[in-house]
Every structure is written in C-alpha cells, then in structure tokens.
C-alpha cells in the first residue's frame, strides 16, 4: 500500500493522466480517438447528462470527451487532477459549494474576460444575477451556471389520499407520518445518508430546519449545540422508518426507491422529479407529488461548469463549449429536468405550467438555504457525515458524535489558517 501511495504522490500528474486517460479511453466511442479531445469530468443526473451531450455537439470540429459519474467520485477525480496541476481535465463540473475550494486553491481560470467578450453572442446577461453571484469568489466569476436546484419533498399522493393524510408541514408531522405509513415492503420514508454529499444535504435540512446552524460568525462550529443535537436525534428517529441501506444511499438509490414503489416519501432534488414520471424507469408514474419541504431550510444549490487553470486547450474554445451547452434553446429543452438559471426560461409561464413539479420547486426556492460559503465545507463534511452516521447507527451518542465532529472541524479549519 505504501509504495503504491508514494508512487502516486511522486508523479501524480502522470498517474492522473494515466487514470483519466484510461477512464477516457473506456468511455470513448469507437473511432473517437483524437489527440486534442477536450476532457470534461462531471457529476451525473438526467439534466447533467443532457448538458454533457450538448457539450459533445457544441462545436463541430472539437471532440469533447465527457466522463460522468456520481458526485463523490467526480470530485475525487477532479481533486486529484487539479491538485497535481494536471492538464488532463479541461472542463470540470462544480456546484455552489465545491467551486469555492477549487477557486481558493487557484485551480480554476477566472471567466470574467470571456464572459464579457461573449456576453452578446450567447446572451449571457440572461442569467439571473443571483446565479452568477453564487459562482463568484473574491470578485471573480469562475463557473457558468447550468442549473438551479433545490430539494423538494416527494410524496405518494395516492397512498396519502387513501390514508386520508396530507403531506407534513413540520418535522414532527413527518416523523409521525413516516412511522404510520411504514410497512415491511414499503418504507415510510427515504433517507440518503451516504457520505459526503448526500449525507451533508440531508443533515443540512435537519440542522437548519430545526433551528440550528453549522457555524457562527467566526466560522466556529456550532452544529453540536442543543438545536443540533435535537436535529440529529430527530434524524435518527425518522430514519427508523427509512428504506433498507439508507446509510449508504445517495441520490441515485433514493430516486430508485421512490420510482420502484419501496418508499412513501422523503426529500430529494428537484432534478429528480421528472424521472418519477418516466415510464421507462418508474413504476409510480403520476402518483408522486411534491411540496416545499417541512420546516424549510433545505439545501438550495446551483451547478455549472468551470475551466481548469491548467488546461492546455484554448480557453475561448472551452468557454464556447460550456456557453453553447447552456444557451437558451438548450436550457429550454432541459427545463423539464431542472430549474434553469436563465430568466427567460425560468419565468416562462408556459414552461411553469407544463412541468408538474415547478410550483413546488419555485416555492421551495423561497424557503431553502445554501451551504455555508466555506471552501472547506466538503472537507469538514467528511468528518461530520461519518460522525453523524456513527450516532445514527448507535455506535456513538449523538452529543458525543457531534462534539467529536466539531473538534475535528475546528482542528482542520485552524490548520487552514482560520481563527488567527
């Protein structure tokens, strides 16, 4: 193990190039070998798959090799590539939280000049200012937004109607309803607690929705206070009626649980709503409905694409690829899968009427809350999600687990120059 680790550390650039090369080769269509293919790494869900396809078609003479994978894997690969300053990745998927650490570390190319240059050609001033602001760090724009996303409360309308129930409006009602609707073959609720991304999302909702917070104004962790302990205790109580394997479930597993009729309700992303009505994937077409999450404060996020600071490709070409994929026509086409960050599409009444989940999505945006703007949030999330899972699975007391996570968080942030 040690020589293996050291080998990677010695020449991480080559190792990453090799890894990315192998991954790229595996995902290339036959006959698609080209020395200067643009390499893109992305998280994967239906809307991002759509945008990846549009990137591949964006410029007729430029081959774009897209590698899509679950969020944690995409971030690991991007982290390894960028930290070794490898030129093996040109375009990288990032969200409103992960982009902060990439920008802080100097791994991304600021896009301000290209944004100005191509503003008119691609109608870039159509993007909502809040979406652009989300992706600014130290006054510079680093990411072109492709999606606005929020978590919604998914529920089986048919089953709740049959039981004479309404969707819950607070956590107490949610807990009671999950227990009541739970049965051996159909869980009362879904829960997605796989570290780091999925687990953090769910914990974010519980902690903020139940009156807690992640950090104080000095970035000292406060999630281990009384409100935080109550929130994680509530999480433990509700997951008593969650689907099997919820501790290692991410968004894919939770989506499938709802689609395959093995869970009654739960929190999931708006980007997964359309998949509930896809007859090729879902057994519950037309049976799922959505409302804004009980007690609000669920995560609101945005996804987009950035350019690697270490890419050897022409930045203008790369910018045109991501700008083309996020043009108005494409966003209009993707609007059934995701909330678009362009004003002209987001505010289109026809689209709002055509997509069943839009009212709930727009209502959820009003009461949602983004992750803290802390570049190290996913890193401390590594501690927090694991400790909380120790509490949920009974290996630690909730208070002890949160105290341990808070201490580890503080230690890491201190080592990164905070609190001085």
């Amino acid at each position: 193990m040690l020589p293996h680790l050291a080998c990677l550390l010695i020449d991480r650039r080559r190792a990453t190039a090799l890894l990315a090369g192998v991954a790229g080769w595996l995902s290339l269509p036959s006959g698609a070998f080209a020395a200067d293919a643009v390499q893109m790494i992305s998280h994967r869900y239906p809307a991002l798959e759509f945008y990846a396809e549009r990137m591949r078609e964006a410029l007729p003479d430029v081959e774009v090799n897209t590698q899509l994978m679950p969020h944690d894997k995409a971030m690991e690969l991007a982290n390894i590539a960028m930290s070794s300053k490898a030129d093996t990745v040109d375009i990288v998927y990032l969200n409103d939280s992960t982009f902060l650490s990439f920008a802080k570390n100097g791994w991304l190319r600021p896009l301000d000049d290209l944004f100005e240059k191509y503003k008119e050609e691609f109608g870039l001033d159509d993007f909502t200012e809040s979406a652009l602001d989300t992706f600014r760090y130290d006054g510079h724009l680093y990411v072109i937004p492709h999606t606005i996303n929020t978590q919604l409360f998914f529920y089986r309308k048919d089953l709740l109607d049959e039981a004479g129930k309404s969707p819950p409006t607070n956590f107490e009602e949610y807990k009671a309803l999950a227990a009541e609707m739970n049965s051996p073959l159909r869980a009362g609720t879904i829960s997605c607690l796989k570290p780091v991304d999925a687990g953090l999302n769910e914990m974010h909702w519980y902690i903020n929705g139940l009156g807690g917070a992640w950090f104080d104004d000095d970035m000292k962790p406060v999630f281990n206070n009384e409100a935080g302990v109550n929130a994680i205790t509530m999480l433990g109580e509700i997951t008593a009626n969650a689907q099997r394997g919820f501790t290692s479930a991410a968004n894919d597993e939770c989506t499938i649980a709802l689609q395959q009729d093995v869970a009654v309700m739960g929190m999931q992303w708006a980007s997964r709503a359309a998949a509930m009505d896809d007859p090729e994937k879902s057994n519950v077409v037309g049976k799922i409905d959505w409302v804004a999450p009980p007690d609000g404060h669920q995560r609101v996020a945005a996804d987009g694409y950035a350019l690697s600071a270490f890419s050897k490709q022409d930045p203008e070409t790369l910018f045109k690829i991501i700008a083309t994929s996020s043009n108005e026509a494409n966003m209009r086409e993707a609007a059934s899968m995701i909330l678009p960050p362009r004003r002209s599409v987001l505010n289109d009444p026809e689209l709002q009427a055509a997509n069943r989940h839009y009212p709930a999505s727009l209502a959820s945006l009003e009461i949602g809350q983004a992750f803290p703007r802390l570049p190290e949030f996913y890193e401390v999330g590594e501690f927090i999600t694991r400790r909380v899972l120790q509490a949920i699975t009974g290996e630690m007391e909730v208070k002890a687990a949160l105290d341990a996570a808070a201490a580890e968080t503080e230690e890491l942030l201190k080592s990164r120059g905070y609190y001085q």
Binding site: M1, L2, L9, P184, G245
Partner: protein, 289 residues
C-alpha cells in the same frame, strides 16, 4: 571465485526495478511524512515527527487500526480454517480433485474490484440477490451493508470468498508433501483423521502455515478495493480500515504529509505483526524459519 562475483551482475536489472518502483517511492513517502503538506495550498512545512505524533493521538487512527485488526484477524482466521478443511477434504478425495480445485480457485482469479461489485449486488439491501430471495419468502434479513456489525461481517465474508481459494491451493500442495510413511505408521497405530491432521500434518506444514498466514496478513492489511466498493468504510466508520483512512487523508482531505506518515506507520505495524507471527509459531524452535 571470479564466476561467483560475476553472478551478482544478474541481480542488477531486478535491483534497479526494485529501487525504482519500491525503494524510491518508499523513501519519498518517508520524506513527505516529515512535512505538513496540504496539496490545495501546494506548500510544504517541515514538521519533523509532528505528523506521527498527531496520528498517535488521533482517535480515528486507533479506531481504524482496531477495525483493521478485527477485520483482518477474522478474515484470515476464517480463510485458514476453511482453507485447511477444504484442502484436507481434497487430500482425502480419490476422484475429481483437479476439477474441484479449479472450480474452487475461480473467485481468486477475479479482479478484486469486480469481485466486490459482484458481492455488492449480492448483499445490497432490497435489490440484492440475498435480499431478493429472502424477501420473496417474506423473510426480512438484516441490512448487510447498512448496519455496523453486519457491514463488518460482510467485509470479512467478501475477503474470505476471494482468498480462501489461495489458502486451499497452498495448503493442499503442502499436504501432498507430508511424508507418507509417517501417516501410514500412525494409521497402523490406530490414529484417526483428526489425529493425523493435528499431530502429523500440521507440525510438518508449520513453515508453510507461517508463510501463508504472513502473506495473507500482509495482503489483508492492504485490504482496500473490496471495502471501498462494498461500504466505502461505512456506515460511519464501521468498516474504515487503516488503508481507507490513509486514502481519506491523502486523496479526500489532500493531507499528503499525514497520509504518508500513516502509510509508514502501516508498514511498521505489518512488519511487526509478521515478525510476531513468526516468533509465536516458532517460539520453541528459534532459527527454524
């Protein structure tokens, strides 16, 4: 004498390869372990033994080490007992040994990641093979990968599924080297299979047993791919072995200095463990190995 000296030249190519792929990386990892090196910042600060001191007072290090011992100890013990039982069974078998041997060896030739993916589909909650069969009979089994105790057991079973064939192969080969005259004498004295196995065969196989246990222990300490695919160290830290913690430090938190220090500590622990193994088994026969 001149010829003898010249033979050393044959070692040069393999020595160069070893230096390049083993000793140099090892030396570099040891060097890095003395630095506070966060890849995000890209700057290194010399901290001497600071990383080692931090790890030795880190609760997560001791916890992952404890889980490593538990999982490795359980897996290697299970593999040895099963391997010995099957090898002895094959030894006593009078027909079909080659075919059986070949079939039993199949799990071992599968790439660990592929084997782990296969096992993940076997153990997966609700959609997995075991769950699917049991639930169709209205039996609701435990959450194999989702509850701490079962997840650890699943990790042990996954390792045993893949590496018991290795034990079988080596032990079966060893059993066939035991002096037949001793076995025949024992049989004439009325010894049964159990007595022959424990009193004649096992003592005769002691060097081989040390070898196979040492190899498997070293190998199992590097246990990474299967657990990474099956549980990723979870739920929580229930199956977080020392290699998974090293991975988290180096490739998730990008703390390369600390990750290297943990790699060096792992090397020392495995070396000490193998030395202890040899010492215990040969405590009465020093120098026999």
């Amino acid at each position: 004498m001149h010829t003898q000296r010249g033979l050393w030249l044959f070692l040069v190519p393999s020595g160069l390869v070893l230096t390049l792929v083993l000793l140099y990386p090892l030396g570099y990892a040891i060097y890095l372990s003395f630095f506070n090196y966060y890849l995000g910042a890209g700057e290194r600060t010399f901290v001497g033994l600071g990383n080692y001191a931090a790890l030795l007072t880190d609760e997560r290090f001791w916890s992952s080490l404890g889980k490593t011992f538990l999982i490795v100890g359980s897996a290697v013990s299970l593999e040895f007992v099963l391997g010995l039982a099957v090898a002895f069974g094959l030894y006593k078998l009078t027909f079909g040994v080659r075919t059986l041997n070949l079939l039993l060896f199949l799990p071992h030739i599968i790439t660990p990641v592929v084997a782990a993916l296969f096992l993940r589909w076997v153990f997966m909650g609700r959609w997995g093979l075991i769950d699917g069969i049991l639930i169709s009979f209205n039996i609701f089994p435990p959450d194999w990968l989702g509850s701490p105790g079962w997840a650890r057991m699943t990790a042990v079973l996954a390792d045993a599924w893949q590496f018991t064939p290795f034990m079988i192969l080596v032990l079966y080969a060893g059993l066939n080297t035991v002096d037949h005259s001793q076995i025949e004498s024992a049989q004439m004295d009325g010894a049964g299979n159990w007595t022959i196995l424990t009193r004649i065969m096992l003592p005769a196989l002691r060097p081989l047993i040390v070898f196979v246990l040492a190899i498997r222990t070293m190998d199992a300490f590097r246990f990474f791919d299967s657990i990474y695919v099956l549980t990723a160290g979870g739920p929580g830290t229930a199956t977080e072995t020392i290699t998974l913690y090293t991975y988290a430090l180096a490739f998730r938190l990008l703390e390369v200095g600390k990750g290297s220090a943990l790699g060096v500590l792992t090397l020392l622990i495995v070396a000490a463990l193998v030395a202890l193994l040899i010492l215990v088994i040969y405590r009465r026969e020093r120098g026999a190995f």
